[in-house]
């Protein structure tokens, strides 16, 4: 693979590129699903190719190919340079990259059991058992399960001399029970909705989650939701479960801090950000007990945003995003770092695959654990609503106004978990919401959740991101607007 990398870099430079970096990626994926006791999707795919990014005439060009031959990668490199020259027709200034070291390294992500080495029969047997356990509950009208495994080898090389190989294996799974009754459809998922939990790791994740053991509970809860009281519409206290808080972080912290959004580069599609450059070190983003980091290092945990180097060859880093409630940092790359006074990139350039351009993406954007035991938090809440497991999410294109709904909720009355509520939702303005946080649970309840489906860019790229979170409490939140008729 290094030969293909080197060959394409040589061609690019001889064609006039002043900088080039190249990624050869070998990607493997296995997808399994079941539905109502039958195998649904059962497939594997494999893809290998090369993508090269160049600067010529002071502008960017990118081309990719799956023709892994000497001629194929040379033609691809030449094409990238031709595209860069066309880009120069509509440039305002030359591309400027922050300095970065040269690295020759090889790294393999964490993982104990290679999921591709686990017999398929074992995997399907587990999913079918969980599927059956959900359907044993009377009133469950649809049972679904899924597993997904990915293994990506990346060979990165740059015209500056870096040569980095990384192997990342990702595993994920989840189960969903749906119940239709008369005038409504309810859904419960475990361990999370929209595909379950995903990590940078192996089959040990699946074995740790006890899908079969949790299936009856999920089934019973979804049936019970039909008879549950409607979540009231009011302003009050909300306690969010960890996975929902993870998505709240993703949408209302992770996306607004992407510098490409802030600079208007996503204005046509994913949107911009309310976090204009003047707000850096000058905004009370959240309450003082809130600390958020963007941490791609392995020490942070096996997240979907964990790596050793990003896709422009910058080592993984930990960045303070919110420190004691104050806004402290953006996600940056080599091109944008200088705009926020940084000497080097924050190392957040990531690509979906060999055929896509790396762009600024979240790594693991996590709230650091607080001090509360979950039981103490409930006991300390006189009147509130505990909401768990996301059902829908939406936020405006500058990341101010959001609305989330969850699958299930419970009243908290007098410090105790009380009746179940259906159709819960909450909404608000990002900074007002985060400033209303008065409690974050401790490390015992902190989980590094994986969001495998973050979409951004044109052409669209789907990326996995990590979000460490534990349950947290928010005051004076608008509740129930999603089902309001007013």
């Amino acid at each position: 693979m290094w030969d293909y990398c080197g060959h394409s870099l040589e061609v690019a430079q001889l064609r006039g590129a002043t900088y080039a970096d190249v990624r050869v990626m070998h990607m493997r994926q296995r997808d399994l699903t079941t539905k109502n006791g039958q195998v649904g999707t059962l497939g594997q795919c494999e893809s290998i190719g090369l993508g090269i990014r160049v600067v010529a005439n002071g502008a960017w060009g990118f081309a990719s190919t799956d023709k892994m031959t000497r001629e194929g990668v040379a033609a691809c490199a030449a094409h990238a340079v031709a595209i860069a020259r066309a880009s120069a027709l509509a440039k305002k200034e030359n591309v400027h990259l922050a300095p970065e070291g040269v690295y020759v390294d090889s790294w393999q992500g964490p993982g104990k059991k290679d999921p591709f080495e686990i017999p398929l029969e074992t995997q399907l047997e587990l999913l079918l058992a969980a599927d059956a356990a959900m359907r044993k509950v009377k009133g469950v009208t649809l049972s679904e399960t899924d597993m997904q495994f990915r293994k990506i080898d990346t060979w990165f090389a740059s015209s500056a001399g870096s040569k980095i190989h990384q192997r990342r294996t990702m595993s994920g799974c989840g189960i969903v029970a749906t119940s239709f009754k008369g005038d409504g459809i309810q859904k419960r998922s475990y361990p999370n909705s929209f595909g379950g939990q995903h990590i940078l790791g192996g089959y040990e994740l699946i074995e740790s989650l006890d899908l079969v053991g949790n299936a009856p509970r999920i089934g019973e809860e979804v049936v019970a939701l039909h008879a549950a009281a409607q979540c009231p519409e009011k302003v009050g206290t909300v306690i969010l479960g960890g996975s929902q808080l993870g998505l709240q972080i993703h949408e209302s912290v992770g996306h607004p801090i992407e510098l490409d959004r802030v600079l208007g580069q996503e204005a046509n599609f994913a949107g911009t950000s309310f976090l204009t450059l003047d707000k850096l070190n000058n905004l009370k983003y959240a309450a003082s007990n809130v600390n958020v980091v963007a941490d791609a290092r392995e020490i942070h945990g096996p997240g979907l945003g964990t790596f050793a180097y990003d896709d422009e060859g910058v080592p993984a880093q930990c960045i303070d995003v919110i420190k004691d409630g104050e806004f402290r940092g953006y996600l940056s790359n080599r091109e944008t770092a200088h705009l926020v006074g940084l000497q080097r990139s924050g190392g957040t350039m990531r690509t979906e695959g060999w055929n896509r351009l790396p762009m600024i993406r979240m790594t693991n954007v996590s709230i650091l654990p607080g001090t509360w035991a979950f039981e103490d938090l409930i006991a300390d809440t006189d009147d509130g609503i505990l909401m768990e497991t996301n059902r829908s999410w939406s936020i405006d294109d500058r990341r101010y106004q959001f609305q989330f709904s969850t699958e299930i909720a419970w009243d908290i009355k007098g410090g105790k978990k009380a009746r179940m509520l259906k159709n819960p939702s909450y909404s608000g303005i990002t900074t007002e919401f985060w400033n209303s946080c008065d409690a974050v649970c401790d490390a015992e309840h902190w989980v590094l959740w994986g969001t495998p489906n973050c979409g951004k860019g044109q052409p669209m790229q789907t990326m996995g991101t990590g979000h460490g979170a534990s349950p947290a409490r928010f005051r004076d939140v608008r509740i129930g607007a999603a089902f309001s008729n007013e």
Binding site: E10, A75, F269
Partner: protein, 467 residues
């Protein structure tokens, strides 16, 4: 794999990629190799699909090109059936050893699961209607031509004191689906897309078009529309959330009503996850709402066959407000005692089928007439981040974006701050007061469809944002 060393001279002269799809005979050669290997291995039923795509996209922001990409890829997807079991393996490696490994992988995956009593044998040879959606002018569009069009848009923004962001994309693709029972289905198409957001201060507006033929849209006109509306979007007033008459431009109609598409899948209704469960044949929408799935509509794209090779049928889904028909894969058709409609996804999958070429019947009221007839209401350019809040009442939430305008006494009077909506699509389609002609529209949430602009009564906005 390794690359041979080469000289500087040959490197400098290396041929540039001339983006061109392979001749169909090369795809047939790949398919024939797989079928031959399958036969030699004693596999009775083998299906092969080859997809090739060439895509390029010029992306601009802050009145300059900042990303500019091209890709060329080919995938071979192999499905085998062994003793009532099936599985799929996809690869982009097309040497014989890799194809053999993929074929064997498919057999191995298939064999590892329980027998599926619902699995049907592969389909035999079929006849398809010819659809011509490959336009040379689109296929030939170069990076430089896209860059020049983008430069013109950026120059307009510069002249107006505005900031432009967007894309100009073009591409070509082909697919061939062949199986061991003699089915052969092939399709080629081109696609071009231009999308632009013009920003003026904190206001913005947007325009977008997508077609097989790049000559069917005018990038200058789209840029001017976005520019003019960005100017109109200055100084938005904050209105009180509540129920308003709204005029949804086609992109807004598309992105909201497009969320209904999977509800018309027979599998979704059988699984009782569709909003049409227990509602078929009963009046559900206004009498002015009719919806058809029609891949043969001249403004649509896509092949005349589905994932199993079944010829696509035109299906009347909603007739004058009454949901009349669903779409069926071969399996869901057999279970329902119906004929497949040619809307199945490639197997194996758990979703079944879906209509992918919706055509919502239009009316005769122009957008201008809708505005003129409105005493007080809102004109919606575009919707954003739409998600399902309630699957059975089909309550959707989302935001307005890039141009929300207050209409008073038949005229646009001012811009308004963006609203969040929580609106049942079922209820909305009972309150459609007028419709424009239907045309191919392009948004960001739903795939392209043929839809009208709509004037809707009592649309529900629940909250307002800061801009």
């Amino acid at each position: 794999m390794s690359a041979k060393p080469t000289t500087g001279k040959s490197l400098k002269n290396a041929a540039e990629v001339k983006a061109q799809l392979r001749p169909e005979r090369e795809l047939r050669k790949i398919v024939d190799t797989v079928l031959r290997l399958g036969k030699a291995a004693g596999i009775k039923e083998t299906e092969v699909q080859v997809d090739e795509g060439i895509d390029a996209l010029t992306r601009f922001a802050n009145n300059a090109i900042h990303q500019h990409v091209a890709e060329h890829g080919l995938n071979v997807s192999i499905r085998t059936m062994v003793d009532g079991r099936t599985a799929r393996v996809t690869t982009n490696r097309i040497d014989e050893d890799s194809l053999k490994a993929a074929l064997e992988g498919s057999v191995s995956l298939a064999a590892s699961q329980p027998n599926n009593p619902h699995l049907l044998p592969l389909l035999g040879k079929q006849k398809y209607r010819n659809v011509n959606r490959f336009i040379r002018a689109t296929a030939a569009l170069s990076a430089e031509e896209r860059a020049r069009a983008v430069k013109a848009a950026c120059d307009l923004a510069d002249r107006k004191g505005q900031v432009a962001a967007g894309i100009f994309a073009s591409g070509q693709s082909q697919s061939i689906l062949v199986n061991s029972r003699g089915l052969i289905a092939a399709y080629r198409q081109t696609q071009a897309e231009f999308s632009i957001t013009m920003q003026q201060g904190s206001a913005s507006s947007w325009a977008k078009a997508n077609a097989a033929d790049v000559r069917q849209f005018d990038t200058k006109a789209l840029s001017q529309t976005a520019s003019r509306k960005a100017e109109m979007a200055q100084n938005p007033v904050e209105l009180t959330p509540g129920r308003y008459s709204v005029i949804l431009e086609p992109a807004a109609t598309l992105d909201l009503v497009g969320f209904l598409f999977y509800d018309f899948a027979a599998t979704a209704v059988r699984d009782k996850r569709s909003c049409l469960a227990d509602r078929m044949g009963k009046p559900l929408f206004g009498a002015n709402i009719s919806i058809t799935d029609d891949v043969y509509h001249p403004e649509q794209l896509g092949p005349a066959f589905d994932g199993e090779g079944v010829p696509r049928q035109q299906v009347l889904l909603v007739d004058k407000g009454v949901p009349k028909n669903l779409v069926y894969s071969r399996r869901s058709a057999k279970e329902a005692g119906r004929k497949p409609t040619g809307h199945g996804f490639p197997l194996p999958n758990e979703h079944g089928e879906a209509p992918m070429n919706l055509v919502i019947g239009g009316g005769k009221t122009s957008l201008v007439e809708m505005i003129a007839s409105t005493e007080r209401g809102l004109l919606v350019t575009r919707l954003w981040y739409i998600r399902e809040v309630d699957p059975y009442e089909k309550i959707m939430t989302g935001m307005t974006r890039d141009g929300l305008f207050l209409v008073e006494k038949g005229k646009i009077t001012k811009a308004a701050r963006n609203f969040r909506f929580n609106q049942s699509v079922l209820e909305m389609l009972r309150k459609v007061e007028s419709l424009s002609h239907s045309h191919r529209a392009s948004g960001e949430e739903a795939f392209e469809m043929v839809v009208p602009a709509m004037k809707v009564g009592e649309f529900h906005f629940s909250e307002v944002t800061k801009f």
